[in-house]
Amino acid sequence: MTATDEGDASAADADAVDPDEVRHVADLARVDLDDEEAAAFAEQFADVLDYFAALDEVPEVEDEPDLVNVMRADEVRDGLTQEEALANAPDSEAGFFKGPKVS
């Protein structure tokens, strides 16, 4: 899937979803899938996206909600302690979260 063809809606047609496209999206979303999952999702996505295609009939609707600024004053307050913040981490070291290497 190239997913860059802005004007070409047909590329988004439901029947265009194959397991490779599902894998590509899964890659973007950082979710590993096994072959079986990718095949099952491809089939289900075709149905769901086909159903979503009915949104094409929706007219453009002006929606201008009244927005207000809800910022509060920037004051220092108590937050979680370092210990509390780290309590659920699978791995930590010297008071820091320990994550995998970035590259």
């Binding site: 190239t2 997913a3 860059t4 063809d5 802005e6 070409d8 809606a9 590329a11 988004a12 999206v25 899964a26 890659d27 973007l28 979303a29 950082r30 979710v31 590993d32 899938l33 999952e37 999702f41 289900q44 996505f45 149905d47 769901v48 996206l49 159903y51 979503f52 009915a54 949104l55 094409d56 009939e57 929706v58 007219p59 453009e60 609707v61 002006e62 929606d63 009244d66 927005l67 207000v68 600024n69 809800v70 910022m71 509060r72 004053a73 979680l80 509390e84 913040a85 309590a87 659920n88 981490a89 699978p90 791995d91 979260f97 320990k98 994550g99 995998p100 290497k101 970035v102 590259s103």
Partner: protein
Amino acid sequence: MSADDAPDGEAADGLNAFVTRVTVDGDADGPLAGRTVAVKDNISTEGIRTTCGSAMLDEYVPPYDATVVERLREAGATIVGKTNMDEFGMGGTTETSAFGPTKNPVDPEHVPGGSSGGSAAAVAAGEADLALGSDTGGSVRNPAAFCGVVGIKPTYGLVSRYGLVAYANSLEQIGPFARTVEDAAALLDAIAGPDERDATTRYDAAEGGAADAPGVPDDTHPADATEYAAAADGDVDGMTVGVPTELVEGADDEVVAVFEDALADLEAKGVETVEVSLPSVEHAVQAYYVIAMSEASSNLARFDGVRYGVDGGEGNWNESFASSREEGFGDEVKRRILLGTYALSAGYHDKYYKKAQDARAWVKRDFDEALSEADVLATPTMPVLPPKRGESLDDPLSLYLMDANTVPVNLANLPAISVPAGEADGLPVGMQFVGPAFGEEAVIRAGSAVEK
């Protein structure tokens, strides 16, 4: 995975309504003193495991309380456990929980509805007087209808979402369950109100201002001047109830029959019914799922196995992240994250997400027009009777269609209630009332007239 790892949990709970059983007494002698409350397991409880029905959060113990939980304690309620739910609120039957499905107390062969199925089942079975759920597209009203109890979805902004684990935050509200409308309204009284930790709780209903914000003199919140329990007086003489034809036509015959009987009872109590039309709702379910899945794909990005969640193990960041999520998330959650990612990806944003936002604005406008002709709108809560367990899992689309009558309300950010209206084939049928924004009293009053 064990359905319940608390002492005496499994034996006491053949319904699998609870993920964790606890007893936390309230702090004071408040309006809910002596009442027991079950809390959906996506609402944070300090020191008590909060799983969201997911293997991802199997061992997660929040270091703080959600605002609604603080308010329960202050109101004197006793918390009796954390209830089972569809994983991260994604589902309509409480079958997608990593801790196994919940059974419907009315008939254990059937689903209790979802995603707050554990909360509804706990109340219906008498395991708790009251319960809290969350409603993103009907997740309080759906299980209330299927289990034969009362559920309220408040106006967006009435109740703080601080401490609610987010799934689709522009849509979801925490809402109460009870066996009577008055009890559900009393629980709403306890949890509603402004919260400086959630900027989406509204201050100043008239002007939309924030408390203490410069230039906003009025810092009242709609809940401040209201007592919801008092509105459950059954007095509907002179009330106008609009019936949106589109949301009745699609329902099964036996559901419609119960609904029409309940309407006739209301007419005998002095209610005038009028037909109203909501042409936009034909596209509401599609719009809802595009928006909810898109928000889910973003919200659930926080589950990377570093700060909490399943450890992704060896490998670089991307590999570890992806393997944590493969292991931690169930099928429905993966499905929604992937479809949401797809809908937001370059080239598809205009086709899906932008159109869904147009549909949302259209739905809001339709509701505003219908509610200018009526005090509240009435529909069957669910177009179908509770299906048997296992019946709907393999076909996601059929499950999504079950939400046709509830999701438009979330898109429009309006309040709604589901009350038991009767039975068909021995299974409960719910009636839904929808009101104008912050018009909780009207839907509570209408609902109370159905039960009296």
